[in-house]
């Protein structure tokens, strides 16, 4: 068998912690090989070992059939390996071509030959169908474009095997699709792609072979065709995780949140919401489906008072909220789990207790006469840590010492216990491990059973399918249509997400 990369028996320890334990990985030439596992399963460590950024404690590395010691990235690059890191390493003030040739500048008479670099960039860009403008500055380019430059950087160094670490984490769905098409064309040209991910859908969509890591060990290497999504989850998490629709009781609560003909502008002053109307009843989960960037963020912001509306009405328990500041809307009973949790949802530098306190820092039981009772705050935070199974040493840990999933649990814990009876939840499980997703879904269902009205915004259809009573589909700032959560027609939803009017579907 023609192997591009062959790792055997790789073990890497950091102190008492074993990040990789006896890992075997054989990547055939000309395939897309996905390495999947939850956060902390050892994927990135393994790739850093292959690329020479870390040295294994045990095991051997063979590249292109030759066993060798890879003690620096230069060795790996020399063997035709290229790595596109999760966090891009570009210089914003330089042009695209300058970035691509950074460190290997084409020189003439001791000076950088910009024209030659631009020409080379242009030819690479044409050859691999990755369109870029060589003279454009990197500052201000989209994330998808930056990634394209990173890939070109790797190709300019003559890589034949390309490693991508969580490449879609920062991309929009469209950009992800473009990337997959590019990767497919690479392997068609005989190159090899190693693709690190914890996203099931994209692994199922793009890979030929899948290696699953769990707790630093390989639990399976199989061709994708031999795997189902359910099986893949079981391998990753180590137990069955249900994405089935959650059983639920009937509800017929009062309307708690009502939106009528709402228009909102985005930051560029373009219409982000166009005549949106919806209502949510107590004890009901209304889902908002749609590709990211179709007005969902603006909807959440305007309802929580963080963005002005240009026109329309929104009522919380019959009270108009569009002109109210965030504090008044909170006091009126709205809790908000924001989509960009690292910026809006937490102060990463502050303690968990300080993060839990926001919005409640003026009232009993946590404050009296303007003085905060920190022991009461810490006590409550301890309770939440236990109830929501937050992995932290204690209430005084800074938020940034927690993993993304645990930070999200802190946000959920705060918002679900803030006393609001209308919950506005934006992307509850984005970036959260699959195992932890289940717990978050349990908690959302518990909130429903307690009679809360829930507006659930998610880009993941599976999540809406499992949780929502009704699903509204957003496209370009409009609600395209609604479907019943129990009997949802995925094709219809998909078409509406792409902007097809349901009225046209019946005709067709």
């Amino acid at each position: 068998m023609d192997l591009a990369v062959d790792l055997s028996g790789i073990t890497k320890r950091f102190g008492a912690f074993t990040a990789n334990s006896g890992i075997d990985l054989a990547v055939r030439r000309g395939e897309i090989h996905a390495i999947i596992g939850e956060n902390g399963a050892g994927k990135t460590t393994l790739m850093n070992i292959l690329f020479g950024l870390l040295q294994p404690d045990e095991g051997t590395i063979a590249i292109g059939g030759k066993t060798m010691i890879v003690d620096s990235p230069a060795v790996a690059i020399g063997q035709g390996l290229g790595m596109v890191h999760q966090h891009f390493k570009l210089v914003p003030s330089l042009t695209v071509a300058d970035n691509i040739f950074l460190g290997m500048e084409i020189r003439r008479n001791g000076l950088i030959d910009r024209a030659a670099q631009e020409e080379r960039t242009r030819s690479l860009s044409e050859k691999f169908r990755l369109r870029v403008d060589p003279r454009e500055r990197v500052a201000g380019l989209s994330v998808g474009m930056e990634q394209r430059i990173e890939i070109l950087k790797v190709l300019a160094r003559n890589a034949r095997t390309i490693i991508l670490d969580e490449p879609t984490a920062v991309l929009t769905p469209q950009e992800s699709r473009d990337l997959f098409r590019t990767l497919r064309s690479f392997v068609d040209d005989g190159m090899t792609v190693i693709f690190i991910s914890h996203h099931l859908e994209e692994v199922m969509a793009v890979s030929d072979t899948v290696t699953v890591l769990r707790d630093g060990r390989v639990v399976a290497t199989k061709p994708k065709s031999a795997l189902s999504k359910r099986e893949l989850v079981r391998l990753m998490v180590g137990r069955d995780v249900s994405f089935d629709r959650r059983p639920r009781g009937q509800t017929n609560g009062k309307v708690a949140l009502e939106v009528e003909d709402l228009w909102v502008r985005d930051d560029r002053q373009l219409a982000a919401l166009k005549s949106v109307s919806l209502s949510v009843r107590a004890g009901e989960i209304v889902g908002i489906a749609g590709v990211a960037g179709n007005g969902q963020t603006e909807l959440a912001e305007v309802l929580s008072g963080l963005r002005p509306a240009s026109h329309g009405r929104a009522r919380l328990h019959g009270q108009d909220i569009l002109d109210l500041p965030p504090a008044a809307i909170r006091a009126g009973g709205l809790a908000h789990v924001p989509g960009d949790r690292m910026v809006r949802g937490v102060d990463r530098t502050a303690s968990l207790s300080a993060n839990m306190l926001i919005g409640r820092h003026r009232r009993a039981p946590f404050a009296r006469a303007g003085v905060i009772d920190w022991s009461a705050v810490h006590g409550e935070m301890w309770t939440l840590i236990r109830r929501f199974d937050i992995r932290a040493r204690g209430p005084e840990d800074p938020a940034r010492s927690l993993s993304g999933g645990n930070i999200q649990k802190v946000v959920l814990a705060r918002e679900f216990t803030a006393g609001g009876d209308v919950l506005l939840i934006d992307q509850p499980t984005r970036g959260v491990d699959i195992g932890a997703q289940e717990g978050i879904h349990d908690e959302i269902m518990r909130q429903r059973a307690e009679g809360r009205a829930i507006l659930l915004i998610s880009t993941q259809l599976d999540e809406l399918k499992a949780l929502a009573d009704r699903i509204l589909i957003m496209f370009d700032g409009r609600i395209m249509g609604a479907v019943d959560g129990a009997a949802m027609d995925e094709d219809a939803i998909g078409l509406m997400m792409a902007g097809v009017d349901p009225a046209d579907m019946t005709e067709a």
Binding site: L306, P325, A327, A331, V343, T349, A350, G370, V371
Partner: protein, 350 residues
């Protein structure tokens, strides 16, 4: 600035001591370049600052305005506002207090309170202009408050020279009435109640940030404004308030200096105290209690330098050089720490 307040105090202390050590080492090199012995310079500085009780009182006298200005800076830093205009607020506060002191006749305690009150109002009013532009239009307060300094010093000069000049005197106002004097603490020094005001202010400020709802709100606005906004805190109002209080304390520093030390307003009466205070606050990592010690350090440098020209060949300006080196070292430390934060390598409990 954001990471400034979010690190453990032990790490902070170690970092700042390291910064001071580096600055002193580099200062030594410069002292060697002028053919003087660093040891002699530092020993002279120490003797000048702490040699006897009069010298200690002199150090504390210099420490007082730096401490109060430092508290003003701490308040701003905590709320994410970089008030570089404390110098100007100090000048206006100093002039306002002097004016109440010489233009009105009031009973003793009341006279002091009235003069101090106007000093506080003057400082707050002076920063209100940059503060308004900051919260209304997003104008960078660093630039606007620096510029306001020039206007403040020249404006007070104008008042002093053209409107209230003491007949026959230098560029100074008439002396204030004795009823407006801050009481002195010892017979042998001009050291006065101002020091205790500064110490009390440091402790009150620390307690405010540690235990009050308003202090919590200010801290959140300073460290994560979008989070604070989301949590229902009025970010603009808090920002405006933070600058106003910071300016008020800057004005108070001027009042203390006028009523406690000079007993009149003189053109250029308190050079650099506002900036020294800002540096003291930065060196203390925005901690009011820490600022007590850093202000003492800078006060000792200032007081000690008086003896420097008498006993050594080094000029007094060497302490300015050392201060500048400390600023460089502290900035370098902040940059390193921020980089550590970005890559997530260092995590500090606080």
């Amino acid at each position: 600035m954001r990471t400034l307040l979010a690190t453990g105090w032990a790490r902070t202390l170690a970092g700042q001591l390291f910064a001071i050590a580096i600055a002193l080492a580099l200062g030594s090199v410069i002292i060697l370049l002028i053919d003087e012995s660093p040891v002699r310079v530092f020993v002279t500085l120490m003797r000048g600052a702490f040699g006897d009780s009069e010298k200690i009182a002199g150090t504390l006298l210099q420490t007082t305005p730096i401490l109060i200005c430092g508290i003003a800076a701490c308040i701003g830093l905590r709320g994410g506002m970089f008030n570089v205009g404390i110098e100007g607020q100090l000048f206006l506060g100093g002039f306002a207090a002097a004016w109440v002191g010489f233009a009105f006749s009031l009973p003793p305690v009341l006279h002091v309170l009235a003069a101090m009150a106007l000093a506080v109002v003057a400082g707050a009013a002076w920063v209100a202009i940059p503060a308004f532009f900051r919260v209304r239009f997003g104008t960078n307060e660093v630039v606007s408050t620096i510029l306001a300094n020039y206007i403040a010093t020249l404006l007070t000069s104008y008042f002093t020279i053209f409107l209230f000049k003491r007949p026959g005197g230098w560029s100074e106002t008439p002396p204030i009435l004795e009823s407006a004097y801050l009481p002195e603490l010892f017979s042998f020094s001009r050291l006065n109640l101002g020091l205790l005001i500064g110490l009390a202010l440091a402790i009150v400020t620390a307690a405010f940030f540690r235990w009050t709802s308003a202090g919590y709100a200010v801290t959140m606005v300073g460290s994560a404004p979008k989070f604070a906004e989301y949590g229902g805190i009025d970010v603009r109002r808090v920002g405006f308030g933070v600058l106003l209080v910071s300016g008020a304390v800057g004005g108070l520093a001027g009042g203390v200096e006028t009523l406690g030390v000079h007993h009149r307003f003189m053109e250029g009466f308190a050079p650099g105290f506002g900036f020294d205070g800002l540096i003291a606050a930065l060196l203390a990592n925005g901690s009011p209690v820490g600022t007590i010690f850093t202000a003492l350090f800078f006060g000792a440098l200032r007081a000690g330098s008086l003896l420097l020209e008498v006993d050594t060949t080094a000029s007094r300006e060497i302490i300015t050089v050392i201060q500048a080196l400390i600023i460089l070292a502290v900035s370098a430390d902040l940059i390193m720490r921020r980089r550590g934060d970005r890559t997530g390598e260092r995590r500090w409990k606080f």
